[in-house]
């Protein structure tokens, strides 16, 4: 049976929704990545400015097509990774993001997850396209949060087929 779900956001979600930090396209980004799909109602683009040697994220920003928690999660993550190395940034999980937001309703965990997926894609892209060398700490296999993004994108394809678009 289909149904609506109550969404008792923590105030931090609304705060970031109202006043998102680090919102918007970054023209001079070192790397860009996106995750999710508009067909699922959730998509995030992630921009990173990475300092060369130190691999420190000096600036990051996002764009989001998504619900309030999606926007808040992406914004929250950009705040968390500020001045962190790529390795440090990699290690943030959706649970960290959710916690920083005061707890997301369980149906919304995929929003936190999607932000993390987009960030990790950006980090992988950095090593694949910029340094062309993979550091030891970067797992070869996709992590859960990255897979989640893939799943959502696959679902979008299915939806498109279902509705014959």
């Amino acid at each position: 049976m289909s149904s609506r779900i109550p969404l008792p956001y923590a105030p931090r979600v609304l705060e970031l929704f109202q006043n998102p930090q680090n919102l918007g396209r970054m023209e001079d980004a070192t790397v860009i990545a996106s995750a999710g799909s508009p067909a699922c109602g959730d998509m995030i683009a992630f921009y990173l400015k990475v300092e060369d040697k130190s691999e420190i994220i000096t600036k990051s920003s996002f764009e989001s097509y998504g619900c309030a928690s999606n926007i808040a999660a992406a914004s929250q993550l950009t705040i968390m990774i500020e001045k962190k190395t790529l390795e440090e940034a990699w290690n943030f999980t959706w649970a960290d993001v959710s916690e920083a937001l005061g707890g997301l309703p369980s149906v919304k965990t995929h929003c936190g997850s999607l932000a993390v997926g987009a960030l990790r894609r950006a980090i992988r892209t950095y090593y694949e396209e910029i340094t062309k060398a993979t550091p030891a700490w970067l797992p070869e296999e996709l992590t859960k949060d990255e897979k989640h993004a893939l799943e959502e994108e696959a679902l979008a394809e299915k939806l498109k087929k279902k509705y014959k678009l």
Binding site: A39, M43, N70, I71
Partner: protein
């Protein structure tokens, strides 16, 4: 979960507030409320099937209110079953019928029926029923040719709503009914008239409609009470068991204050039927066309003009996600809902918007606003002034993401 109060504090109370989410919850009219008071506190609170003064007085009240409630449909009060909700009425109509009529095994519904109809029908799969789903056109109108094709000897029931609750399509009920009954009089015809009651003429006295669902809380009556019209001769069985009293199809529904409110709401609404219709139609068009012309990349969901419910506004703002839209609107004091997947437990967009061929990203960006007689032109002006800013901000968050 106790942080909801903090959430509300963070949200704040906007200086101006316009409620346009009547389909999801509603106050009762002050006069309706006044009519309920005595039945909560002092009068006719008994069981109408008990032989003492309070019981008889309650019975008298019960019969008088049922008479009032049946008037807009122009049918015998005895043909109205009282239930707790339109959902229960729809379930009673569909499941209650299949308990009484054995043999035929096919139920035809449309793609855009309310979930209580679609799921009630599908719940009968395990009893060997087959459910045929009629497609609709891109304004939500039921495809009558396919209806004609699908009806066969095995068809027990056709259930088609009178007005769609989400995109306001007024369905060609008369034509559908003719097609069904011309083919086979024995096929039972049910219409979910919840969103039509008080919006269009529903005189069932001269029609062959067998079953019709209608409800109190769509006309500023209290929630918790609804009706099912059952044409004389149609047999249903209660969908749950208990002690029956005056109502023989639903246990435990005799509720005097709610009945008093329902009857009063009917009286007030139908006394002013034309006025309400003109008022809401005017505001509807102002809002619908206003949004469409002042905000680019905005699409109207559902039909325009005469074929649209007088109180329904539904548009998709491309490049916006619906939940974010409702939140941003809310912070500007505009309360409405969305067919976005993000507001649903199963993360799927509204089945109605996809049925009319909206792409998922169009469905996600939909906003449903219903107009009530309590809404004013000034409020609609405020909404028209404010929504461009709301959309602009949401689109600025979407930024360059390509949809």
């Amino acid at each position: 979960m106790s942080h909801i109060q903090d959430l509300l504090k963070q949200h704040g109370v906007p200086e101006r507030e316009v409620y346009l989410d009547w389909i999801n919850g509603s106050v009762v009219d002050k006069e309706v409320f006044d009519a309920m008071i005595p039945y909560y506190l002092e009068k006719d609170y008994g069981n109408p099937a008990i032989t003492h003064r309070i019981g008889w007085s309650t019975l008298d009240f019960y019969e008088r209110t049922k008479r009032q409630i049946s008037q807009p449909l122009n049918v015998d009060p005895q043909s109205i079953a009282i239930t707790h909700s339109f959902t229960e009425s729809n379930n009673l109509a569909i499941k209650g019928l299949t308990k009484m009529y054995k043999g035929r095994k096919k139920i035809i519904v449309s793609e855009v029926e309310h979930l209580s109809v679609i799921h009630a029908a599908k719940s009968l799969f395990d009893q060997g029923y087959k459910v045929d789903i009629l497609p609709v056109s891109n304004d939500g109108t039921i495809n009558l040719d396919i209806l004609q094709e699908k009806i066969d000897d095995d068809t027990l029931l056709v259930s088609l709503q009178s007005i769609n609750h989400e995109i306001g399509t007024i369905q060609p009920m008369k034509e559908a009914l003719e097609i069904v009954k011309d083919k086979d009089e024995k096929i039972i015809f049910h219409t979910d008239a919840t969103s039509a009651f008080g919006r269009i003429d529903l005189d069932f006295s001269k029609t062959e409609v067998d079953l019709a669902t209608f409800s109190s809380n769509r006309i500023l009556g209290p929630k918790g009470i609804a009706g099912l019209y059952i044409k004389d001769g149609i047999k249903l069985k209660s969908i749950y068991e208990g002690q029956l009293s005056v109502e023989i199809l639903a246990p435990d529904v005799e509720n005097s204050p709610l009945l008093a409110g329902f009857a009063k709401a009917v009286e007030l609404h139908f006394k002013n039927f034309d006025e309400i219709k003109n008022h809401t139609t005017k505001l509807r068009d102002k809002l619908l066309y206003g949004l469409h012309t002042s905000i680019e990349r905005t699409e109207i969901n559902g039909p325009a003009g005469e074929r649209r419910a007088p109180d329904n506004v539904n548009v998709s703002f491309l490049g916006c996600e619906g939940e974010a839209l409702t939140v941003e609107s809310s912070m500007n004091g505009i309360y409405a809902s969305s067919g976005s997947a993000c507001t649903s437990r199963v993360l799927m967009p509204s089945h109605i918007l996809t049925a009319i061929g909206r792409k998922p990203e169009e469905a996600h960006g939909s906003m449903l606003m219903t107009i009530n007689r309590l809404n004013t032109e000034e409020q609609i002006n405020y909404v028209l002034e404010t929504m461009p800013k709301v959309i602009e901000r949401i689109r600025s968050i979407t930024g360059g993401i390509e949809l």
